[in-house]
């Protein structure tokens, strides 16, 4: 009887969770599918730590932009901050020493603030603005670096292994994820941003200073990207690329959309992005472990992305599209 009683309570909770996060089913399906297809390669500790590494990359890039997607805009500047910051770090290293890693959060903050102010005052669609800024940053980075990546070796301790098999970057990313979820779910800022995302005009009429909070959203996005990059810089090899690649841009966005933060804004959030990043990491890693041509993997991932976008924007009838 006791067990039955517990079941009565637990089952609805599970069903409710699965209803609100259908992605969990997809995640389990992916894990089962790859475990069956390639059991000897997929179910290994090495593979799980690779998945966690990918997860860290996707999540830390996607956390900041998620906040902007919640208000219904887009922020593509993260790759630009990564590239330009890496070069600035290399330039500042002889002058500031170990402190120069702070260039990432500061650059992120400044970029976010700049995007926010231009977007709110000049009213340009945010994806065009951030895309153009990204190209400008990429050009500046290549200019300052002289066209070749500049590695910085002093920060290897950030990702030095602490627990065997568990990437240290994963441990560092946990407090950042918690901070983002806390801001969006437990503070007034988060509530206001969700309100702006679901109905900007209404939020303004309700007395929220929409412009201020939109600038704040972009600033937070830049800041989270900057903080995440402190870890990612070393995690991704201790140097930043100086050549712009579309692939670097797409996968964090895919994690956001797959996680279930609709691009029209108003719902979703960082917790969903983390789940989306995990699913994407499992899918990517699983596909690479199957013996397929790399071209086929690219094609399948592209189709997965389209499917995620279509599923992620389902049920948005009557919304103005841009």
């Amino acid at each position: 009887m006791k067990i039955l009683g517990r079941n009565k309570l637990i089952t609805p909770v599970i069903i409710q969770t699965l209803k609100t996060n259908p992605l969990i089913i997809a995640l389990i399906a992916f894990v089962v599918m790859f475990s069956v297809l390639t059991p000897t390669r997929f179910l290994t500790p090495l593979n799980f730590s690779s998945i966690l590494r990918l997860f860290v990359t996707y999540t830390l890039f996607a956390l900041g932009p998620t906040i902007v997607v919640v208000i219904g805009s887009l922020d593509l500047s993260y790759v630009g901050i990564w590239m330009l910051g890496g070069v600035l770090l290399w330039l500042l290293m002889p002058i500031l020493g170990m402190l120069s890693i702070l260039v990432y959060p500061l650059l992120g903050l400044a970029t976010g603030l700049l995007i926010g102010v231009i977007q709110v005052k000049a009213k340009i669609p945010s994806f065009i603005l951030t895309l153009s800024l990204l190209v400008t940053f990429a050009g500046l980075a290549a200019w300052l670096a002289g066209g070749v990546p500049r590695p910085v070796r002093e920060y290897a301790f950030i990702t030095a292994p602490l627990i065997p098999r568990l990437p240290t970057a994963f441990l560092w990313s946990i407090p950042i994820i918690i901070a983002a979820v806390f801001i969006m779910k437990r503070t007034r800022i988060g509530t206001y941003l969700y309100a702006i995302g679901s109905n900007e005009e209404g939020a303004g009429l309700a007395g929220i200073n929409v412009d201020k909070y939109k600038i704040l959203a972009f600033t937070l996005s830049g800041l989270f990207t900057g903080i995440g990059l402190i870890i990612l810089f070393q995690h991704l090899g201790g140097s930043a690329p100086v050549e712009l690649k579309l692939g670097n841009l797409v996968w964090p966005l895919a994690a956001i959309v797959l996680g279930g933060t609709p691009l029209v804004g108003g719902s979703g959030g960082p917790h969903r992005t983390a789940l989306g990043a995990l699913t994407l990491a499992v899918a990517t890693q699983g596909l690479y472990l199957m013996i397929l041509l790399p071209e086929v993997v690219a094609l399948l991932l592209g189709l997965l992305l389209v499917a995620a976008i279509v599923v992620g924007t389902r049920g948005l009838k009557g919304v103005t599209i841009t």
Binding site: I124, A298, V310, R314, T322
Partner: protein, 319 residues
């Protein structure tokens, strides 16, 4: 005099690009006397042709207030399909790639109009899938066309007429037709109406969803044509085709004065925008400036012209 000043102030997005084109020509000519020599002009004309065709397609999409990110991917795939199949199919390859490009445009339109996916994300996703197809077909190889059939195909774009390559005449012809479509046909007027006020357009009895799909198909068609002519003009290529194209292409549409909010501008303006972007690129390359400085320049132009063209009186909320 006062009237003229007032007119210029109101029509800054019309007058601005013309002034910019003259300034670019004068500036580069002053620095580099070979800018307007015969070979210089051929280089200018060569570089602007492909851009102009693709940008005309993109202009129609931007006129409706949407965005097409897949232009460069469709162009690349169309060009590579031409190179792959020219030996088997001969000139029949052109209708084939046009059909495929229109098909991708149709998918874009379907995602945007029927499934309500924001056009930026929809076309980005589609462009990724297209690149996957391209990689599957081509891999990392470089294709150089050769043989009798390839010669006829390449003659389409490289024959000299009055000293200029025929790809230029193709581009000008397509530009004139695009302008005619935008200005003088119901299709064009509907496109303007759709960009200006989608809800009002729907209420006045126009099938908005279907028209959006048509516009994306037109963009796919022109892009496919640009891809085929690109291959005929270059005679070879790999997956690297158009790697640096997305931002300059988009910048050339807004630099001409087509606002991202839709309903304003048109293909006739895109000609000036393409001149600004590609001619300054050629000028900077003639001065042997490195790629990344050109990138910074394009990024700043894109931001600046986006700010300048948007009609702030009309819009209240912008995402």
């Amino acid at each position: 005099m006062k009237q003229v000043a007032g007119h210029i102030r109101i029509n800054v997005t019309t007058v601005g690009p013309m002034v910019a084109v003259i300034a670019i020509i004068a500036g580069f000519q002053a620095i580099n006397p070979r800018f307007l020599s015969y070979h210089g002009i051929v280089a200018l004309v060569n570089n602007m042709s492909i851009y102009l065709i693709a940008a005309c397609g993109l202009t129609f999409v931007i006129m409706t207030g949407s965005f097409d990110f897949s232009v460069v991917s469709i162009l690349r795939l169309a060009a590579l399909l031409c190179a792959l199949n020219i030996d088997k199919l001969g000139l029949l390859v052109i209708p084939l790639v046009l059909l495929i490009s229109v098909g991708f445009g149709f998918i874009n339109g379907l995602l945007v109009a029927k499934l309500n996916v924001p056009s930026f994300m929809a076309t980005l996703g589609v462009s990724f899938a297209i690149d996957g197809v391209g990689l599957y077909l081509v891999g990392r190889r470089l294709f150089i066309m050769g043989g009798e059939r390839a010669e006829t195909f390449m003659a389409l774009a490289t024959t000299r007429i009055a000293g200029l390559p025929s790809v230029f005449y193709w581009a000008m012809g397509i530009w004139i037709i695009s302008t005619f479509i935008a200005m003088c046909t119901p299709f064009g007027r509907r496109t303007y109406a759709l960009g200006g006020n989608p809800i009002g357009t729907g209420l006045s009895g126009i099938n908005v969803e279907r028209h959006r799909i048509y516009v994306f198909m037109l963009s796919g068609f022109l892009t496919g044509l640009a891809g085929a002519l690109f291959m005929a003009w270059q005679g070879g290529g790999s997956m690297e085709i158009g790697k640096n194209m997305p931002v300059p292409l988009f910048a050339s549409v807004v630099a001409g004065g087509t606002a991202l909010t839709g309903g304003v501008g048109g293909p006739h303006r895109t000609l000036l925008g393409v001149m600004i972007i590609t001619w300054s690129e050629v000028g900077m390359r003639m001065l042997a400036l490195p790629d990344y400085i050109i990138m910074v320049f394009f990024g700043l132009i894109a931001i600046g012209m986006s700010i300048a063209t948007i009609d702030r009186r009309r819009i209240k909320i912008i995402k």
